[in-house]
């Protein structure tokens, strides 16, 4: 990496449906993020936002709608579509060229003004083959879950434990949308969705506005005593047709390998102190943990039985409650990263993990059965 980049400030909105309008919500996180480091809009170098027209209340060109609300008026700015960790990467790149010493990132999604998530994800399918089958993120995840349980003998109870853990963790996260003290039986007996998935194993549709300020090394040291450094990033795209893929051997391996290489991580299980992963479906947290190298393939069922990924465990995963607790579609990747930032700074409040956090991993995914993955690693 040619130049160091730090995260110096974050702000986020809460997940439940809000009566505030989009502009107010977007402005508030932008303002809070800048206020925390005493910056004004005039000091902003460049802005990269993440949003998606399909998740934008029926208004096309989402970036046009919110442009000046996010501080981008007359700035050299840009937008990433679909995955907000893309915006993190793009913002970091802009700083690494030396042209800008800071970059504001925004992830914007007002779930309450969108139709059901799967009404939108249905539109990922081509109109000739996929869409007529009713393939959505949920139905394709159901295929993946079935294949996962069959191949490795992971049980539905082990999958349900992810929801018990994450919705329980969410009790300590003031921004969470869905939270509660559930038993494995509660999760499995919740309303049936796409079998074998039940309602409480599927993420809700949430609001999510996240602002994050990146800075060059020199600027970061002026703005904060506790910069959190960008260490590694990777992303990878899988082939389109679901039937052409091995749903249990995903491009997350490729994305993680790139990120680990850049960050110099040899043994992720030991070197990552906390992970925030995008698990819109409970079992996916198990599968993603395996793909990230936290355990061997098929080993995540035992890992959750042992409590390794609990908030007090050896490798806490989703102490914030993850995406099962808060699912603003496009914003969820950057929200994971914001949570990693808070954990490293010791500012995660009630859901701060027990151990000292030096290195955090944030993961984002979107598309059928995780067609695209992005992984970011940050640290002290």
């Amino acid at each position: 990496m040619s130049k160091k980049v730090a995260i110096v400030s974050v702000a986020q909105s809460a997940g439940p449906a809000s009566k505030d309008n989009f502009y107010d919500q977007a402005y508030r996180v932008t303002r809070e993020c800048l206020d925390k480091v005493g910056m004004t809009r005039d000091d902003l170098g460049t802005v990269v936002s993440a949003s998606s027209d399909i998740f934008h209340g029926g208004i096309s060109c989402a970036n046009a709608y919110y442009w000046e609300t996010t501080g981008a008026f007359l700035k050299n700015a840009s937008r990433q579509d679909g995955e907000s960790l893309f915006a993190f990467m793009y913002g970091a790149m802009r700083i690494m060229t030396g042209q800008y010493d800071n970059c504001l990132l925004l992830a914007l999604c007002k779930g309450s003004e969108n139709p059901e998530n799967d009404t939108c994800t249905l539109m990922f399918g081509d109109p000739f083959y996929h869409r007529n089958l009713g393939l959505t993120e949920t139905t394709s995840a159901a295929f993946q879950m079935q294949a996962y349980m069959e191949k490795y003998g992971v049980t539905k109870e082990q999958c349900a434990k992810v929801a018990v853990k994450n919705l329980g963790n969410a009790l300590r996260n003031p921004y969470a949308h869905r939270r509660g003290k559930y038993t494995v039986a509660d999760i499995l007996n919740s309303a049936p969705a796409a079998a074998p998935l039940t309602d409480l194993q599927i993420a809700p549709k949430s609001e999510g506005f996240v602002a994050m300020l990146l800075a060059s090394e020199k600027k970061a040291k002026k703005l904060t005593d506790k910069p959190v450094w960008f260490k590694g990033y990777g992303s990878s795209l899988d082939t389109y047709f679901l039937g052409d893929r091995d749903l249990l051997k995903t491009q997350l391996r490729t994305a993680a390998a790139q990120a680990y290489k850049m960050a110099g991580i040899k043994d992720p299980k030991k070197e990552i102190d906390v992970a925030e992963v995008t698990e819109p479906y409970a079992f996916q947290e198990l599968l993603w943990c395996e793909e990230l190298g936290f355990c061997k393939p098929g080993g995540a069922g035992k890992m959750i039985d042992k409590g390794t990924t609990e908030i007090s465990g050896a490798l806490p995963v989703n102490p914030s409650g993850g995406v099962l607790a808060n699912n603003p579609y496009v914003s969820r990747g950057l929200q994971r990263l914001a949570e990693g930032f808070l954990q490293i700074r010791g500012e995660a409040g009630e859901h701060q993990v027990d151990k000292k956090v030096k290195t955090a991993l944030a993961h984002g995914t979107h598309g059928f059965a995780g067609q695209c993955h992005a992984v970011a690693i940050i640290g002290v």
């Binding site: 027209d53 840009s78 990433q80 679909g82 990467m89 992303s235 082939t239």
Partner: protein, 388 residues
């Protein structure tokens, strides 16, 4: 500016009404051509940038999924850049920053649109929010007509003169399209044809307006080291500028459009361009409307504010003029929106590498490319040169 960034390959589809191919096939056509043109293979690519117009255009959302295979992007890092009509130039910017940052050595940029699958004007109407603007800002022509009227009124330009200048531009571009093998609309028109064509939105007439095209464009951006190793003719990125302004149409001055002025200024400052009309050899201005093209000439400093019609009528911006503009036929003859901005950059690259064929401007060394987007909201510029 970060590391120097070169462009070593361009691939375009034959643009037009492409009912002979499905959307992924269209994308594949451009991608195969860029590999052919650059001599590289998919395994050489470190990352892919993709982009298009909103999902409503063709009815498929987040198209990087759909085109993963067509873009040869499986197993590759991906970024998905979208900024409305300026998407194409924003894709080029993303690829540029990726290489300039040192995070990649070889980046494939792909822009695409298959507009005949949907209804472009209906899509653009949904760019305006449903409470205030959507009722009177419907589609593109209405917006750009209002802008033209504002501009004409500001500088007191007689209507007949603007009409003559617009017709001049239309005739010039329609002729130019015959020299571009990839252009969509190829018809010979006279100034009278333009002036008497059907009114779309007063004062804009049919031959003042771009078509609805299907098309894709792909380009490969490389680091200096990689360019040296490949030893091929390379265009170098000299300047990159982008500005966006208010969402509400009435909030800003569109007559002397500060977003366009400042986007160009940023790129000029980086490229060391003081006098654009002299320092640039050719420009590919995003010109879906003849009237708006003149306004852009002024914002980009090609002439004084209000002075464009006179200069146009003098032939300053003709193919043989002092600063040839849109010798490819421009957007007026070809407009697959998500690809259009990238095609402007591609045409600039073809010019400075001497590969523009029949529409080559002799000895072109520095070329300007531009795209505009939103309801008159965004402007992006990229300047390329033949020398590092």
């Amino acid at each position: 500016m970060g590391r120097p960034v070169g462009i070593i390959g361009v691939g375009q589809t034959k643009h037009g009404r492409r009912m002979d191919v499905a959307y992924p096939e269209l994308v594949r056509e451009a991608v195969l051509r860029v590999f052919e043109d650059s001599g590289l293979e998919p395994s050489d690519i470190d990352g892919v940038v993709s982009g298009t117009m909103p999902s409503m255009m063709e009815g498929v959302a987040l198209t990087h999924f759909y085109f993963a295979d067509a873009m040869q992007a499986v197993g590759k890092p991906i970024l998905k850049t979208e900024t409305c009509g300026s998407t194409g130039v924003s894709i080029a910017h993303t690829a540029y920053y990726w290489v300039a940052s040192g995070m990649a050595d070889v980046v494939l940029a792909v822009g695409h649109e298959k507009m005949n699958e949907g209804d472009a004007q209906a899509t653009m109407t949904t760019v305006a929010e449903p409470f205030y603007q959507r009722y009177f800002i419907a589609g593109a022509p209405g917006v750009f007509s209002m802008q033209s009227q504002m501009w004409a009124d500001r500088y007191g330009i007689p209507e007949a003169k603007i009409r003559d200048a617009a017709a001049h531009i239309s005739v010039e571009h329609h002729n130019a399209a015959f020299e571009n093998p990839y252009a969509h609309v190829k018809i010979r028109v006279t100034a009278d044809d333009v002036k008497n064509s059907r009114v779309i939105t007063y004062p804009v007439r049919l031959l003042d307006v771009c078509p609805t095209s299907d098309g894709a464009c792909a380009m490969i951006f490389v680091s200096q080291n990689k360019a040296k190793k490949l030893g091929r003719k390379t265009a170098w990125v000299k300047g990159v500028g982008y500005r966006g302004e208010e969402y509400f149409f009435g909030d800003s001055d569109k007559g002397l459009w500060q977003g366009a002025v400042l986007a160009a200024k940023q790129a000029y400052d980086q490229a060391g361009i003081k006098n654009p009309r002299k320092d640039l050899d050719v420009a590919e201005v995003y010109n879906p409307f003849t009237f708006q093209e003149m306004l852009f000439y002024e914002c980009f400093g090609f002439c004084e504010p209000g002075g464009a019609p006179d200069m146009v009528l003098k032939g300053t911006f003709d193919k043989k003029g002092q600063l040839p503009c849109d010798p490819s036929g421009g957007v007026l003859c070809t407009n697959p929106i998500g690809a259009t901005g990238l095609i402007r950059v591609a045409e600039a690259v073809l010019q400075v590498t001497g590969k523009a064929g029949e529409h080559q401007i002799p000895k072109a060394k520095t070329a300007f490319s531009h795209a505009m987007g939103g309801v008159d909201q965004f402007n992006g510029v990229m300047i390329v040169g033949s020398e590092l």
